[in-house]
Symmetry: C2
Subunit: 404 residues, 2 copies
């Protein structure tokens, strides 16, 4: 029997969960499985804003691949994907080439800066562990520098968050909790520090219930966060940004701009010649690309339309994890020549964290806020860990600080 080679690109929510499912349900006699990732760790993208703000150490967010994946059952290759050649059933890596029979593309997202001048050079993004710990250090470094300069530079203490969506709000919430500690560490008055969210839409957190949005705004404002809505970031420089509101341009001194207003699918997908819709592959119901029988796409690189609304499902961890179960099933079906099944998303709700003990949530059709929502968020994070790596991983990386 000729064993099939299953190659999974990326150890994000989708790829990691696919590999974890396949190692349990496919026998090593049936297929060879290879997981390719840049780092030797998986990380919880939805926790990165905490690492960036400095309220949670990144070691908590990182999960060693070998803590979840059994290297007796799955090959682990640490390398970077340069491009995919689906006609040749090959993946070009920085240090090699990999042939596959079945491919799962779970390469995640990268920041989209929409050509705003200076943004890619001077703004920070919250996309991976490296980014997140750099933001943490940028904050510390500017606070540390403040008293070393004869002429005090407000740009060191103004922090601009570009975008009041999910990531921007969650980051601002953590940051507001971190500032008092930074101020104490570097002998700075709290009132000197500004956190400013610049949002293009008339209000932040689009898609959330209006009452929850009000709650979130109040929670953040009470901790010193400022909102500039209906404003567009026009320019980003090393020590100031320019935004436009009501046709008027304003300069704002800052050395720390966090760009949280745009991501796109990993550009490897487009570069590899797949047919894309705004960078993503509009997949079939069984999560395969329209053009290739043996290529699955998962997570942020995949576009699935909600048939009820006609809109695309948002690129969330929740969806990626659910897709992984379908992909794992369908890859197994391909190996065993069984029938493929369709992906059927089960939207359980949305929770936006506003800090360790505060959040807003729409779950089971109900609105929650405050510590109850924060509790739900931690429960949902813990549930993922349990699903991915069992009780051992949950105990190691779970969030149990429910009541402090």
């Amino acid at each position: 029997m000729n064993k099939k080679h299953i190659v999974i690109l990326g150890a994000g929510y989708g790829g990691m969960m696919t590999a974890a499912k396949l190692q349990k349900t496919l026998h090593t006699n049936e297929a060879v499985i290879t997981l390719i990732n840049k780092n030797d760790y998986h990380y919880q993208t939805t926790w990165l804003h905490e690492n960036a703000a400095g309220t949670l150490h990144h070691d908590r967010t990182k999960i060693k691949i070998k803590d979840v994946i059994d290297s007796n059952k799955v090959n682990i290759v640490l390398d970077e994907v340069i491009c995919i050649k689906p006609e040749e059933k090959k993946v070009k890596l920085a240090n090699g080439v990999m042939n596959y029979d079945f491919l799962v593309i779970g390469l995640g997202f990268e920041p989209a800066t929409f050509g705003i001048p200076g943004l890619s050079e001077h703004a920070f993004t919250i996309g991976n562990i490296n980014n997140a710990r750099l933001i943490r250090e940028q904050l510390d470094f500017n606070f540390a520098s403040y008293h070393n300069e004869l002429e005090k530079n407000d740009a060191r203490l103004n922090i601009v968050v570009g975008g009041g969506g999910f990531t921007g709000i969650e980051f601002a919430g953590e940051l507001a909790n971190r500032i008092p500690h930074l101020c104490e560490e570097y002998d700075i008055e709290k009132t000197q520090v500004r956190i400013i969210i610049i949002e293009g839409a008339p209000t932040v957190l689009p898609g959330f219930d209006e009452r929850l949005v009000s709650y979130a705004i109040n929670s953040l404002e009470s901790r010193g966060v400022e909102f500039i809505n209906g404003a567009l970031l026009k320019e980003c420089n090393q020590d100031y940004i320019v935004y436009e509101k009501d046709g008027k341009r304003t300069e704002l001194p800052t050395m720390t701009t966090i760009w949280a207003a745009g991501v796109r699918a990993n550009s490897v997908v487009e570069r590899s010649g797949f047919e894309t819709n705004r960078g993503k592959v509009e997949v079939r119901n069984d999560l395969r690309t329209p053009d290739f029988e043996d290529v699955f796409v998962i997570g942020d690189c995949a576009l699935i339309k909600n048939e009820a609304t006609g809109k695309a499902f948002p690129p969330t961890a929740q969806i990626a994890i659910q897709q992984a179960e379908t992909v794992a099933h369908n890859v197994r079906a391909k190996v065993r020549r069984n029938e493929l099944k369709s992906f059927c998303p089960n939207l359980q709700g949305t929770i936006a964290s506003l800090g360790n003990d505060d959040a807003i949530a729409e779950v089971f059709g109900r609105n929650l806020f405050g510590w109850k929502a924060a509790f739900m968020k931690k429960m949902s994070d813990n549930r993922y860990l349990l699903k991915l790596g069992g009780i051992g991983l949950l105990m190691k990386k779970g969030k149990f600080n429910f009541f402090y």
Copy 2:
């Protein structure tokens, strides 16, 4: 009775100890005592290299003035000294003017960069708490940045220490212990990091016994520190330095140059018109300036020649603390119209730390090295705390980690 006003400038080793002594031995009926300092804390200058390397938090090094000085007995003014007008018996402050009957100048040191191009702009110095925590952050920031750049920049991982004297060696020793932790934190290989000491003389640690110098060099080299002796720093830029050795100029990429090869007395002294010898006041035996009957100078601003050798005593904490006892005695004598006494230094030895558990020492005429010398160093640090603030301060800030 017309009470006299004693003004002490600076809460360093000399000024702080003078204030501590005076509050115990002068009655508030006899004199008004005012201590003027920029910050609300005293700090242990000899511990700053640990804060800078990140091996000890600066809160351990800071001592709140009010933890030692009784504000019922001593006025505490937080302000910056602009200049002294000894003819008018006035001190000009950033936010005021202070008249005195007796003045104690203990304004410490500032870095001397000898006109080396770029040094004052781009190099870091280990002079105060603000400097030290900035160096710590500079290290963290560069390590954090390393993996965020497509083109890897060695300048982020090369650390240059200008000067292999006391401070340079002590800092390098701490840094060598910190690097493994930084590497782990930011996923960097230890072999990629370089610590390079550039020393003008043919060897480091001038004045120490040759065997102890060899021990120190071996200890540092075994932890990856490189020595470039007989070399002069010629130029310092944001991402490289230039040094000259044997007539040849070499560029070395680095974003972190710590200048530990020169300090001078606080320039306020020279600016105020005192007669100085390389920035310091060559004081009388009773530690007064030659020209003014009521002005004492202490610590790094004072120059005292060792009559045995004809050389100046080094500007150490040990000497400053001993001077404080003489100055406190003499100020009290002036208030009470008693006789002044001469300063008589009692050199007990020199200890250079090489990290938490390693050091070299010449004490009681003996050479010590390794953990014994490190133990002596901690004992000597603890003795100072006991002297300054009693058992309470010792318990709060002492070093008791003798054996880890």
